[in-house]
């Protein structure tokens, strides 16, 4: 925290600052609030995208500072518990009468199961992908099997939401549990921010695009034109470059939107619990996407995909493009 020299270079990287112009809702303000011990409103509104870390010339590890300062309230804890088990999450989403949830998750599905004998690799959809984007999981499974892999699907949660929202210890437990479930198998994740989180915590996981590039599996010539949203944590770790490389190999033209890694507005659970600021960020994202002039958006992270779809764009995962 002492590395922060208060230069303010992080301000424009921060989605909540961009839409409020308020120091209270900025990384610099939040760090100051933590230093001064002020229970600032800004600590609640942080989207935990950590884009400020990329903007910071002093290398302040904002994420670590913020995760240590947040405490999950009971409502958040319950939300996190549901995420931990996609089957339960599915049931919860089916019965939930929360308008906010229904708006972004109009039709949840049961997680796809698959456990082949002596699997070559694990397919990790990610908790939200498992129940909200089942079609993508199916296409990924087919994509891999068509190329001769025996696949085991692990439906679980990486704990990123827990980490960002005041349950760091629980996040560690979830990571450890995945470590033992993954064992020595190669893991392919369909949720790029989860990939990033698991990589940061030392799990050997590949993002789907990364697997395609590194393994050199054949990619069909798809053609067409898209714009790309870079999920925040994936962008932080630099793995979004694989998405672009796969698009290139598939001969798909990319028309860039403004600031591809700008927060989508989901912000962990913020799209439910901080609707006002969340909506303003989504509007800003809509404006930035529109600048590309393209209606098809590639997003490889589920919360971003749900939000961008709700904004009225056609959203596809990399694997949706390759399998179509």
């Amino acid at each position: 925290m002492n590395e922060c020299v208060h230069c303010g270079f992080c301000l424009q990287a921060c989605p909540t600052y961009v839409v409020t112009g308020s120091e209270v809702h900025s990384p610099r303000g939040r760090i100051m609030a933590i230093k001064l011990g002020i229970p600032s409103e800004g600590l609640e509104t942080c989207m935990f995208c950590r884009r400020c870390e990329l903007a910071c010339p002093s290398g302040v590890e904002y994420g670590k500072i913020l995760e240590g300062a947040r405490k999950a309230n009971p409502l958040l804890r319950i939300t996190h518990r549901f995420l931990e088990d996609p089957k339960r999450l599915y049931v919860a989403l089916r019965v939930a009468q929360v308008e906010r949830v229904k708006k972004f998750v109009p039709s949840p599905s049961k997680p796809l199961e698959c456990s082949e004998e002596r699997p070559d690799l694990i397919l990790f959809p990610g908790c939200l992908t498992a129940v909200t984007l089942r079609g993508t999981v199916e296409r990924a499974l087919k994509f891999l099997r068509d190329r001769g892999f025996r696949v085991k699907i692990v439906n679980a949660c990486c704990g990123l939401a827990h980490r960002g929202e005041g349950e760091v210890e629980r996040a560690e437990e979830l990571i450890e549990s995945l470590r033992s479930r993954f064992g020595d198998l190669k893991v392919i994740s369909l949720s790029s921010n989860c990939t990033a989180h698991m990589k940061e915590k030392g799990l050997r996981v590949m993002d789907f695009g990364e697997f395609v590039v590194e393994s050199g599996v054949k990619v069909p010539e798809v053609g067409g034109r898209v714009t790309v949203h870079d999920p925040c944590h994936a962008n932080l770790l630099g793995i979004t470059k694989y998405t672009r490389e796969v698009l290139k190999r598939a001969k798909i033209e990319v028309r860039e939107m403004e600031e591809p890694s700008f927060e989508c507005g989901a912000g962990g659970s913020n799209f439910i619990f901080q609707p006002q600021i969340s909506d303003t960020i989504m509007e800003e994202k809509r404006r930035k996407i529109r600048k590309s002039g393209v209606e098809v958006v590639v997003s490889t992270n589920p919360s971003c995909s749900l939000v961008i779809a709700a904004l009225g764009f056609k959203v596809v995962h990399l694997v949706d493009l390759l399998a179509s």
Binding site: C7, E23, M32, L54
Partner: protein, 457 residues
């Protein structure tokens, strides 16, 4: 104005600082108007009640000019960030817009040329109030050369459109006034056609002396570079440890020179010869990626000081270019006498020094040392024919040097201007002008900057 845009709880304390963190202020409250009308209403309200206030943009001032040292109300202009109009080669914007967003918002063949290192975040209102420079000052001028006209709210409550005339332009009095004369509500800025070509040359030198000689040499061959920046050994070290790691060589000093326009290639040849003629080695970046990295390292150098120290002072005296060798040598002498790791990363082309002086904010003697060393450095620059501040402003940081540079009649004239505009001294009080009667200094560091004795007042 909605309730959420008036901050009167503890959160207001987040506006206690800008990028000058030596002195902590404490705002009475913070208001964030969302429209020009709201801003006018809020400021008029403060004026009519005789309440002192500080107008603030992104809070990146390096001289503390937006620190509410007297418990003022802070008026944040960050939400007034609209682009109102682009007309020909001029753009009209709200004061809260970040500098970088001006270039982004104008036609692709144009750009807004002043680019202080903080340009990604610093606001146009703040740039105007500090007459901010940046690396391209050398060829394209400072903010004052790029302001066409302003809409200003004056301390008597009236709104005036000023400027746009070629002779004795009245908008200029607000440029560099640090918010002490009026509130900038709107600015019409000059845009510049983007040069068709841009080339970068890096000169690698064994010491700052030979690099300094090359700086003068470049002008002698008839070249005005778009930018010419020097980084010394210490600043290279700092950047290479930071996220802005640029792959600079380990050496005594580097010169980063940008040449643009149709003659850029020819100028690269000329500058390269000057570099070699002064014992330097020429390096030309291979491709855009490397070029961008080299400049990003330079632009991030200040904030990168965070990797070695949680706080630093930065000075910005301008000196004649020919005096660079002796003044830099003096800076190192002073640094070593105080045992300080001083890094120099600066606009060598226009002789604008930026010694960065680290200190430990928790340690009184460290603060004392940094302040004393910086006073010696400024006086050294003044003796060499320099000025107190080239681009960061006086704020509170350099109040103590005003009398060293300006004569009493200079200061008297400034006081008369201030008195005519703002007789009640409500706008950004206790900044810029060294007349400090009625200015409270509870903070010990502030007392040093006010040149007051350190015992309790």
């Amino acid at each position: 104005m909605g309730e959420q845009w008036v901050i009167d709880g503890d959160d207001r304390l987040l506006y206690s600082y800008d990028a000058f963190t030596l002195v902590k202020g404490s705002p009475f409250l913070v208001v964030l108007p969302g429209t020009e009308e709201e801003a006018i209403a809020a400021v008029r309200h403060l004026l009519s009640r005789g309440v002192r206030f500080v107008v603030r943009g992104s809070g990146t001032s390096l001289s503390g000019s937006t620190v509410p040292t007297q418990g003022e109300v802070v008026v944040s202009m960050t939400r007034l960030s609209r682009i109102y109009e682009v007309k020909g080669m001029e753009i009209t914007v709200g004061p809260g817009i970040a500098n970088a967003l001006v270039s982004r918002g104008c036609p692709s063949w144009l750009f807004y040329s002043p680019d202080p290192s903080s340009y990604v975040v610093s606001s146009i209102g703040g740039n105007i109030s500090h007459d901010s420079g940046g690396i391209h000052v050398l060829k394209y001028g400072t903010t004052s050369n790029n302001v066409v006209s302003l809409r200003v709210l004056l301390p008597d409550g009236t709104v005036e459109e000023v400027g746009g005339t070629p002779f004795l332009d009245p908008s200029q009095i607000f440029v560099g006034a640090e918010g002490t004369l009026g509130v900038v509500l709107r600015a019409t800025l000059k845009l510049t056609p983007k040069p068709p070509k841009r080339r970068t040359v890096m000169g690698v030198f064994k010491d700052v002396n030979s690099a300094s000689r090359a700086v003068v040499g470049v002008f002698r061959v008839g070249v005005i570079p778009a930018a010419m920046e020097m980084m010394d050994r210490n600043s290279i070290l700092v950047v290479e440890k930071s996220r802005y790691r640029a792959g600079y060589p380990e050496c005594g000093a580097i010169l980063l020179v940008e040449l643009d326009g149709f003659g850029a290639d020819e100028e690269v040849e000329l500058v390269s010869k000057v570099i070699e003629g002064n014992g330097g080695e020429v390096r030309v970046p291979k491709g855009d990626e490397e070029e961008e990295r080299l400049w990003k390292g330079r632009k991030g150098a200040f904030a990168a000081m965070g990797v070695i120290s949680s706080a630093y002072l930065t000075l910005d005296s301008n000196i004649p270019r020919s005096k660079l060798p002796e003044v830099l040598e003096g800076v190192y002498r002073i640094a070593s006498r105080y045992g300080l790791f001083v890094a120099n990363v600066f606009h060598a082309g226009d002789g604008n020094l930026h010694p960065l002086i680290p200190y430990d904010p928790e340690n009184k003697s460290s603060i004392q040392r940094a302040l004393e060393a910086s006073a010696e450095i400024v006086r050294l620059a003044l003796r060499a024919g320099g000025v107190v501040s080239g681009e960061h402003g006086i704020g509170i940081e350099k109040l103590r040097f005003m009398e060293d540079y300006y004569s009493s009649s200079d200061l008297e004239i400034m006081e008369r201007i201030k008195g005519n505009f703002d007789p009640n001294r409500l706008l950004n009080p206790c900044k810029l002008l060294p007349r400090l009667e009625g200015c409270k200094a509870k903070d010990e560091n502030l007392r040093i900057l006010y040149k007051r004795p350190l015992e309790v007042e």
